[in-house]
C-alpha cells in the first residue's frame, strides 16, 4: 500500500504539474531578478526576463549557477529576503576556504519539512515510528532537515547526533527504535557492530533513511543483511535546501523529485547542452518556491538521469537514478575516468573482503597509480599464502574488468581501516603533494 504525505500533489497528473512548474518558474525568475542583484545582473547581460519564458524547456536560456558563485557571494549576498525574514541558516562543510551559506524563510522551512516528510512517508515511516537521527547536528542540513520533516510527520525523534556507537546501539535496543537516519557508511559500521555483539534480533529497526553521501546497491545489501532493515536513499544538497530534493519510494526504483518545488534538468558538463530524458549527465536544478535564497539552474555536479514514467507507487513526479558519482569525485587515473562508486560495487560483491576500503592515488614519475586497500574478513585464508594471493589477484582482476585499469590491491587486517561516523573519506589523492 503506497503511503503519501501530500497525495494530491504527489500524484498530480503531469500536465497539471508542468503547468504549475511553468507558473512557478516564471515567478521565481521574476523574484530572483527583483531581489537578488547577482541574478539581476546575469539576466540583464543575457537580456532575459520572466515574460520571455513561454514553456518549461525555455529554462535552458537561463544562466547556470555554480558553487563558485555561492562562494563569491559569501555569506549573504544571494539572499532574496532581509535578515528579519530569514529564520535559519545552514552552511556546507567547505573543505577549502569559506563554506557555502544558505538562508531560509519560515515558508522555506515549512516546505522543506514537507519535502522530507514525503520521502519518509513514501518508504512507510508513520507517526507510530521512533526515529533515531545519527547525523551530526549543526550547520550540515542533514540532521535538522530530517528532524523537522519527521517531526511534521509525527514520528518520535531520538536526536542522538553522530558518534558514540555503543550508546547509539543501547538506545536503539532500549527505545525500540524503528527508523535509523545516518550516512550509509556509518550504518554499515553500526550494523557490523550490532551483528558482532549479537543484538540484531533485539533491535526493532525496519527502515533506514540514508543520505549525505552516495550508497551503492551493494553497500545497501550489506547493511540489510547485517541488520535486516529496508535501506532507502534520499537526495539533496544544502544549496537547494537540503535533503528532500528527491527520495525513494518503497519500490526503490529511482528517487522521486519534489517537482512542485524543484525543476530538474540533465546537461552535458562540458558543452552545457540539455540532454534528453534517460540520458546520463549532470543534474541541474532550479528551485521553484524558495524565498530565502532562490537558485536558478544550480549545477549539482552529480551524474544521474531522469525517468518521467509514472511509478508503480502512483507518484507522477520524475524519478532520478541513484547518483552514479559526482563529476567532482571522478578520478582520472592514467587517463581513465574512475568513479569510486564503481570500485565500491566490485568490492561489495566479494564476500571474502570487508565492507570498508581505502583508495590511494599516487603519481610516480609521470605515471598515476591506484592502490585499493581492502580488509580480510577473518583468518580463513591463512592456511596457504597462495590462497591470499589468489584472493588478491581475484580482487585485482574484478577491478580491472570494470575499470579497464591495473590497480594495486593490498590486503590489510580486519577492522584496521578507518571507520566514519559522518561522510566517509575513503580517497587519498597524493598526486601533486
Amino acid at each position: 500500500m503506497p503511503v503519501f504525505w501530500q497525495k494530491d500533489i504527489e500524484t498530480m497528473p503531469r500536465k497539471e504539474l508542468e503547468r504549475l512548474q511553468l507558473e512557478r518558474l516564471r515567478h521565481i525568475v521574476d523574484y530572483a531578478d527583483k531581489h537578488v542583484p547577482f541574478y539581476h545582473k546575469k539576466f540583464g547581460a543575457l537580456k532575459i526576463s520572466a515574460d520571455k519564458i513561454k514553456c518549461l524547456s525555455d529554462v535552458k536560456y537561463l544562466p547556470l549557477t555554480t558553487k563558485e558563485d555561492l562562494r563569491d557571494n559569501y555569506p549573504f549576498s544571494l539572499f532574496a529576503r532581509p535578515m528579519r525574514e530569514i529564520v535559519r541558516t545552514h552552511a556546507s562543510s567547505g573543505t577549502t576556504g569559506k563554506p557555502i551559506v544558505v538562508g531560509y524563510t519560515r515558508n522555506d522551512l515549512s516546505a522543506w519539512a514537507d519535502q522530507v516528510a514525503r520521502f519518509c512517508a513514501a518508504v512507510g515511516v508513520t507517526d507510530a515510528d521512533i526515529a533515531q537521527i545519527s547525523f551530526g547536528y549543526g550547520l550540515f542540513t542533514g540532521a535538522l532537515g530530517l528532524h523537522y520533516g519527521l517531526e511534521k510527520l509525527g514520528a518520535a525523534i531520538v536526536p542522538i547526533s553522530a558518534g558514540n556507537t555503543q550508546r547509539q546501539l543501547m538506545l536503539m535496543e532500549d527505545f525500540g527504535v524503528t527508523v535509523l537516519i545516518s550516512t550509509p557508511s556509518y550504518a554499515t559500521y553500526l550494523s557490523e557492530i550490532a551483528r558482532e555483539q549479537g543484538i540484531r534480533d533485539k533491535l526493532k529497526l525496519r527502515v533506514g533513511l540514508f543520505g549525505g553521501e552516495g550508497c551503492t546497491p551493494e553497500m545497501r545489501a550489506k547493511i540489510e543483511e547485517n541488520i535486516g532493515i529496508l535501506s532507502t536513499d534520499n537526495y539533496g544538497l544544502s544549496e537547494l535546501g537540503g535533503p528532500g530534493v528527491s527520495g525513494e519510494c518503497a519500490f526503490r526504483c529511482g528517487l522521486h523529485f519534489s517537482e512542485d518545488h524543484f525543476l530538474p534538468e540533465i546537461i552535458d558538463s562540458d558543452t552545457f547542452e540539455t540532454k534528453e530524458a534517460g540520458e546520463d549527465g549532470e543534474l541541474v536544478v532550479t528551485t521553484l518556491t524558495k524565498e530565502g535564497m532562490p537558485m536558478i539552474r544550480y549545477r549539482t555536479k552529480d551524474i544521474t538521469r531522469l525517468d518521467y514514467d509514472v511509478c508503480k507507487c502512483g507518484r507522477t513526479h520524475v524519478r532520478m537514478d541513484k547518483v552514479k558519482g559526482r563529476s567532482d569525485d571522478m578520478l582520472i587515473i592514467k587517463g581513465v575516468n574512475v568513479f569510486p562508486s564503481q570500485i565500491e560495487s566490485v568490492l561489495m560483491n566479494i564476500p571474502e573482503i570487508g565492507a570498508h576500503y581505502q583508495l590511494i592515488i599516487r603519481r610516480e614519475g609521470l605515471m598515476d597509480s591506484l592502490e585499493v586497500k581492502v580488509e580480510l574478513v577473518d583468518g580463513a585464508y591463512l592456511v596457504e599464502y597462495r590462497k591470499l594471493e589468489q584472493l588478491r589477484n581475484y580482487v585485482k582482476e574484478q577491478l580491472r574488468s570494470v575499470l579497464q585499469l591495473d590497480v594495486k590491491v593490498t590486503l590489510v587486517e580486519p577492522k584496521s581501516l578507518e571507520r566514519f561516523e559522518g561522510k566517509a573519506r575513503r580517497i587519498l589523492d597524493l598526486r601533486g603533494k
Binding site: L376, D378, G379, A380, L382, V383, E384, Y385, R386, L388, T410, L411, V412, E413, P414, K415, S416
Partner: protein, 141 residues
C-alpha cells in the same frame, strides 16, 4: 599425529612482528619454531608453540588475524641424507608439500621438520611404516 600450527596475518609494517610476538610472550607461550617468507605487502607468520590454543586466544583478543592449521611433524636423524629420504617418500606417494621448515631438537640428535600438505592424513599414511618418526604434540611442545 597432526600438529597445530598458528598462522598469523602480518601486514608488512615496522613493529608488527614485535607486537605479535610480544602478545605471545605475555601469554606465557613459548615459541618452538617459526617461519615467514619475505613478501611485499603482507606475509603469513607460521608458528609452532607449546600452547597453541592459548596463543590463539591471546592473539584473537588483541584483534590479530590468526587461525590454526594442521601440519605434520617428523623427527629425523641429524645426519646427511635423512631429510632427502622423507621428501622422497612424499614425492613417491604423489603428495605435494606446500611449505616446510625445520628446527633442531634440544634433547637428542634429532631435527624436526614441519610440513604442510593439503591432506595431512594422507601424508601421515604415506610416512607410516617407512621408518620415519612421526611426532605428536608432546614430542614437540
Amino acid at each position: 599425529m597432526v600438529i597445530k600450527q598458528l598462522s598469523v596475518f602480518v601486514e608488512n609494517k615496522i613493529g608488527r612482528m614485535a607486537e605479535i610476538t610480544g602478545i605471545i610472550g605475555d601469554a606465557n607461550v613459548d615459541i618452538r619454531a617459526l617461519s615467514i617468507a619475505d613478501t611485499s605487502d603482507f606475509g603469513i607468520l607460521r608458528l609452532i608453540v607449546d600452547k597453541p590454543e592459548e596463543a590463539l586466544l591471546a592473539l584473537k583478543e588483541n584483534k590479530i588475524t590468526v587461525s590454526l592449521t594442521d601440519v605434520i611433524a617428523v623427527g629425523i636423524e641429524d645426519k646427511p641424507g635423512a631429510f632427502a629420504k622423507v621428501v622422497k617418500i612424499m614425492s613417491d606417494a604423489g603428495i605435494s608439500i606446500e611449505y616446510m621448515y625445520a628446527f633442531i631438537s634440544r634433547s637428542d640428535d634429532q631435527a624436526f621438520v614441519i610440513m604442510r600438505v593439503e591432506d595431512p592424513d594422507k601424508g601421515i599414511a604415506a610416512l607410516n611404516g617407512q621408518g620415519i618418526k612421526l611426532l605428536c604434540r608432546e614430542d614437540i611442545y
